[in-house]
């Protein structure tokens, strides 16, 4: 079942077409990989889907409903969470508070903003307790409870990546977009990240990831889409992608040029 798709999505910055007429589909409960050389438009595609950027043309459809151009915070509330390529944590806040902020809107009522704000104000302790418990649960998922009171900026790099994922999961999304989760990790860390991503999928969260680490991508992705120069050049299972001549050309260059 398709949970999310883009139809003819194009994003041009003046004359530069970063994403060109891309049809990208995400199947529910699977792990979808998005790969391509640097500058291929992968992150731009993510930004356009998650509402941080507005497509020039084309549609984004989530659960059969068009969500093109919806502001990021509303897209998040609909059930699409994300992490960032260059980690974007709330650095001066504690690990716990970072995850609590992921749960932030879970205790409010978007229909009655003023009423729920007043409720937060008057019933401060009970609401804080609920937020704390939710956050604590997600930190437990990553075995990071002992780091709760650390400032986010003081965490080691690998933990910062996990914290960002924990924060995104705390919004209880249907789909989570991970932008290069393995960047800067050593082989052992990548190994444990792979099992973590599988555990996330087992929670019933559909995973979409951008990654350059081919071992990770080929091992855990069910579907892979390849972008190059903003356009989609291939789509399929890992074994199909591995033998696709266009993909090989994009990554290694044409054969005859070397001769």
């Amino acid at each position: 079942m398709r949970i999310l798709e883009t139809q003819g999505l194009t994003r041009a910055y003046g004359g530069v077409v970063a994403v060109n007429n891309v049809d990208f589909t995400v199947e529910k409960d699977l792990i979808t990989g998005l790969i391509g050389p640097n500058g291929a438009g992968k992150t731009t595609l993510f930004n356009n889907i998650t509402g941080l950027d507005m497509p020039t043309s084309g549609k984004v459809i989530f659960n059969g409903k068009e969500i093109t151009g919806t502001p990021a915070h509303r897209i998040c509330r609909m059930g699409i969470a994300r992490t960032f390529q260059n980690i974007r944590l709330f650095k001066e806040l504690s690990v716990l508070e970072n995850v609590m902020l992921g749960c932030h809107f879970k205790v409010g009522d978007p229909k009655r903003r003023l009423a729920s704000a007043l409720k937060s104000y008057v019933r401060l302790s009970s609401e804080e307790e609920e937020l704390y418990q939710r956050a604590h649960k997600w930190l437990g998922f990553f075995k990071m409870e002992s780091l709760e009171n650390e400032l986010a900026k003081n965490l080691p790099y690998g933990h910062q990546r996990y914290l960002e994922i924990a924060r995104a999961l705390a919004t209880e999304p249907q789909v989570i977009f991970l932008d290069e989760p393995a960047a800067g990790m050593n082989p052992q860390e990548t190994e444990s990240l792979m099992s973590t991503i599988k555990r996330i999928r087992d929670l019933g969260v559909t995973v979409v990831l951008i990654e350059h680490d081919m071992k990770l991508v080929m091992n855990i992705c069910d579907n892979i889409t390849v972008l190059n120069y903003g356009g989609k050049i291939a789509e399929g299972t890992p074994s199909q992608i591995k033998s696709d001549p266009l993909v090989i050309e994009a990554y290694l260059g044409k054969d005859d040029e070397d001769e």
């Binding site: 990021a72 915070h73 960032f84 806040l93 504690s94 932030h104 409010g108 609401e127 804080e128």
Partner: protein
């Protein structure tokens, strides 16, 4: 001397209110706003005009002053939301000056540069809070300051305070976490402006007259100084900052050196304080106040955690 100290304490109270407002905008939401003087003026003139021309009592004008300032906060907040850092500072600086110029030139309503005199004294149950009896007036000011302090610190502790801090730390990430950045930023402006409006109202009944010369740009800078000196994101610290800044600016009079040290001296000193603090102690004297979750961590560790694990498994 004692009466001079009381005067400093009264001004500390009035400026504390403005500094707390500035702290919501700058310390929590991370927006560099320079128009507290504008909101201060709106609050003062609201009280002055309603008291003198409409014969309202101070207590009726106080909420009107706060609401009117808050409304102006909304007006300035909405268009300037897209601006960041220096650009926001310039836009808000302009707004503060616009307010002062309007007051200066709207003769019919504000009496122009002459200002409004003979504002009636504050009365409560037949008792008059005369600004000439500073001890009593001090109590009035500080009761209001403490009430506002209670309200804003509670706000800061709630999830709304946390959301404001998230916006300060990383706007894009906050947006992607389902936090309505626009709404919170406007709310911060509205709260900050309302507090300055209350301060303005008190200023009017303390001076018993208002004139445009009181609400100059320097006031905004003083308030910013208080927040930076005390510590951004810490409401108690900005009150301490307010006291120190007030003490410094009245120091020449206090020691009887006002003929030797020109009044411009304090402007040099404020600039110096801002620069030195930014270089050597950017977090301010007391630093940011951290929320404590010890209580929550205590209750949830043994029993509840197990329950939560079960819930997690059920998912």
């Amino acid at each position: 001397m004692w009466s001079f100290f009381l005067l400093i304490m009264i001004y500390t109270g009035i400026y504390s209110l403005m500094a707390m407002g500035q702290n919501v905008i700058t310390g929590y939401a991370g927006m560099l706003s320079l128009c507290q003087a504008g909101f201060f003026a709106v609050g003062s003139y609201a009280t002055a005009i309603l008291c003198v021309k409409c014969g309202w009592s101070f207590w009726a004008t106080l909420p009107v002053a706060a609401l009117l300032s808050a409304f102006l906060g909304l007006l300035i907040g909405l268009p300037t939301l897209r601006l960041k850092g220096d650009y926001l500072a310039i836009a808000t600086l302009g707004f503060g000056e616009i307010v002062r110029n309007v007051i200066n030139n709207w003769d019919k309503l504000t009496n122009g540069p002459m200002g409004i005199q003979r504002i009636p004294m504050v009365k409560l149950f037949g008792y008059t809070f005369s600004p000439y009896r500073k001890g009593i007036f001090l109590i009035l000011v500080w009761v209001i300051v403490l009430a506002c302090y209670f309200l804003v610190t509670r706000l800061a502790k709630s999830r709304m305070g946390r959301a404001l801090e998230a916006i300060r730390e990383d706007e894009i990430a906050a947006d992607s976490m389902g936090i309505n950045v626009t709404l919170y930023k406007v709310a911060a402006f509205v709260i900050g402006a309302a507090l300055a409006g209350i301060a303005g109202s008190l200023q009017a009944v303390f001076m018993l007259s208002v004139s445009p010369g009181t609400y100059v740009f320097m006031v905004s800078i003083m308030v910013l100084c208080m927040v930076v000196l005390g510590g951004m994101g810490n409401f108690f610290a900005v009150i301490v900052g307010a006291f120190i800044i007030q003490f410094i600016s009245y120091f020449p009079q206090l020691v009887g050196l006002s003929s030797v040290i020109p009044p411009q001296f304090k402007q040099i000193l404020f600039g110096l304080i801002l620069v030195l603090m930014m270089i050597y102690r950017p977090q301010g004297m007391l630093g940011r106040s951290m929320r404590s979750y010890d209580k929550l961590q205590g209750i949830s560790k043994p029993g509840l955690l197990a329950k939560l694990r079960k819930k997690g498994d059920a998912r």
